[in-house]
């Protein structure tokens, strides 16, 4: 995306030597990733690969054990509370289950960030919320409660809420999970449209290959807490590594087994069993 005022695309997210633990278990083992302005970066990996944890770090929800995360040139965990709030206004997140507030209407959900962070006129906020609903093809749904929407609609409403402040970076957690192929394709198109129109940097965590190939500018593959691959879709398809080809061809993986660890798990040594990820 060269339309922004800055002709040289710069890194909007820089992750360096990220290590993180759940209890005693190390989940990520020193990860380095750059996400460039205006690109759609897809983070892939099977369950247990640490990709959800990684996303929580990128959204500044969870401090790492060690390593740094820079978002828009700010070291996230060295910011004052006030600076962190300011940074968060530039981020939008569409959560897996939508995470709409069930006590508010769809419209109120979308307007909440505006209410809390701006002093705009009420009518302006309403127009903005309706505009965003138009963008996600949910026009006229602002007075419904989230419980009255279908799964696909909830996700699109969540996108509308995520983009209401026109964020610089948009995160998607498993956009196609639980959706039928048609709806999930619509969501992919929406992601592409948002990038093209707003020049947003978009970071998508998914395990859906088709979706990833459609939208990704670059793909990061995580495997058991390490980065297996970073690069374009073409590079990924041609990659010689057997592990990656297995992933692409959806062959189930014989995970490498640490015999001692496995035995401890089976015999139920409590110290080891604690701290499993959710």
């Amino acid at each position: 995306m060269s339309d922004t005022s800055n002709p040289q695309p710069s890194n909007v997210i820089e992750v360096r030597d990220l290590v993180t633990h759940y209890g005693p278990r190390e989940i990520l083992h020193g990860i380095n990733v750059d996400i460039v302005e205006g690109e759609i970066m897809v983070i892939m990996g099977g369950s247990g690969s640490g990709k959800s944890t990684f996303l929580r770090h990128l959204m500044a929800l969870q401090p790492p054990t060690s390593g740094t995360i820079k978002i828009l040139d700010e070291d996230v965990w060295n910011l004052s509370q006030k600076e962190l709030f300011a940074l968060r206004k530039k981020l939008g997140v569409a959560f897996q289950g939508g995470a709409l507030f069930s006590s508010m209407t769809v419209g109120e959900n979308i307007m909440l960030p505006l209410h809390e962070h701006t002093k705009l006129d009420r009518l302006t906020m309403e127009i903005m919320a309706r505009m965003k609903l138009e963008v996600v093809d949910l026009s006229g749904f602002e007075d419904l409660m989230p419980s009255e929407l279908s799964g696909g609609m909830i996700k699109r409403a969540a996108v509308a809420r995520a983009i209401v402040m026109d964020p610089r970076i948009l995160f998607f957690d498993e956009p196609s999970a639980g959706l039928d192929p048609v709806v999930s394709k619509q969501l992919d198109e929406l992601i592409l449209r948002l990038r093209d129109a707003m020049g947003m940097t978009i970071c998508v965590v998914t395990h859906e290959l088709e979706s990833a190939f459609t939208i990704a500018d670059r793909i990061t593959v995580l495997d058991q807490g390490n980065i297996l691959f970073v690069g374009s879709v073409e590079e990924l398809k041609k990659h010689p590594s057997e592990r990656i080809q297995n992933l692409l061809n959806r062959r189930s993986e014989e995970a490498e087994i640490d015999a001692d660890e496995y035995l401890r798990r089976l015999t139920g040594d409590k110290e080891e069993a604690e701290g499993m990820p959710r």
Binding site: Q81, R88, L91, G97, F101, P113
Partner: protein, 271 residues
């Protein structure tokens, strides 16, 4: 062999006791931390454009307080009448039925009004807070607030805490009045004492200290209910079942905390 397994059992027992004590201290610490954090946001929030909204405080006061008026009123009246009935019955032994006002007034204002109000609010709102926050947690709504730059403590906890701190004493005062009124009605029917005489005696007997004793306890109960309800909600793990467990846990903890605090407060205040 036998001895060894006994030793193991003992070790396991102390191990468990140790773990439980550490966990309980940890939880008490969390309550303290939550309380401090709430005060922090209340005071410093406006400076970071994160003010505590008056509207949400009123909404919570409505939910915690106003909607509970009916049930608390009925319970308080029942307890007031019960105290009068038992008082007259037991004082009859000494032929001192006339002194029933003293017993009813003291026990209602100092003990029963705050206790029954606290327990009912715990049952209604302590559990509701846990259920609401727990559901929000498993639906990632708390994460959503956080990434939107809205602090969940400021947005969700402080309004409930303030509402509870205000409404439990207010409801307690209402309980006192209604309980005494019900007692007066029964005494009127049983002994023929007029309502005016009953309340004259009540006001004679009670000091301002008795009233503040009752209301002060209620304020502490209010804080306890909100903190325990909120924290159990925040700590929910593992889906809908976790929410159910947290709700139950929250009610049990609230009521235990209320009863124990009540005893300690009485002990310290009458020392």
């Amino acid at each position: 062999m036998v001895e060894k397994s006994n030793q193991n059992a003992a070790a396991r027992f102390f191990d468990r006791v140790g773990r439980i004590s550490v966990a309980s201290f940890d939880e008490v610490g969390r309550h303290g931390a939550m309380l401090l954090e709430s005060v922090y946001w209340l005071v410093l929030g406006p400076r970071m454009n994160q003010p505590v909204r008056l509207g949400s405080i009123f909404a919570e006061m409505m939910e915690i307080g106003v909607r509970a008026i009916g049930i608390i009123g009925i319970m308080a009246a029942a307890i007031g009448a019960m105290l009068a009935i038992q008082g007259i019955y037991s004082l009859k032994i000494f032929g001192a039925e006339g002194h029933v006002v003293l017993g009813v007034a003291f026990s209602m204002v100092r003990e029963f009004a705050p206790l029954i109000t606290g327990i009912l609010v715990a049952g209604r709102s302590g559990s509701a807070l846990s259920a609401r926050l727990g559901t929000m947690k498993i639906n990632q709504e708390l994460d959503a607030l956080e990434v939107m730059g809205i602090n969940p403590t400021r947005f969700l906890v402080v309004p409930s805490l303030i509402a509870s701190l205000i409404m439990v004493p207010v409801l307690t005062f209402m309980s006192m009045v209604l309980g005494l009124y019900a007692a007066a009605l029964y005494v009127n029917a049983a002994l023929g004492m007029s309502l005016a005489a009953f309340f004259d005696q009540t006001i004679d007997v009670l000091s301002v200290g008795d009233l503040t004793h009752g209301i002060g306890k209620a304020a502490i109960f209010g804080v306890l209910i909100a903190l325990i309800g909120v924290l159990n909600g925040f700590l929910v793990k593992g889906g809908a079942e976790g929410v159910g467990k947290a709700t139950t846990r929250s009610v049990v903890q609230c009521i235990s905390a209320i009863v124990v605090t009540d005893m300690l407060f009485a002990l310290v205040a009458t020392f």
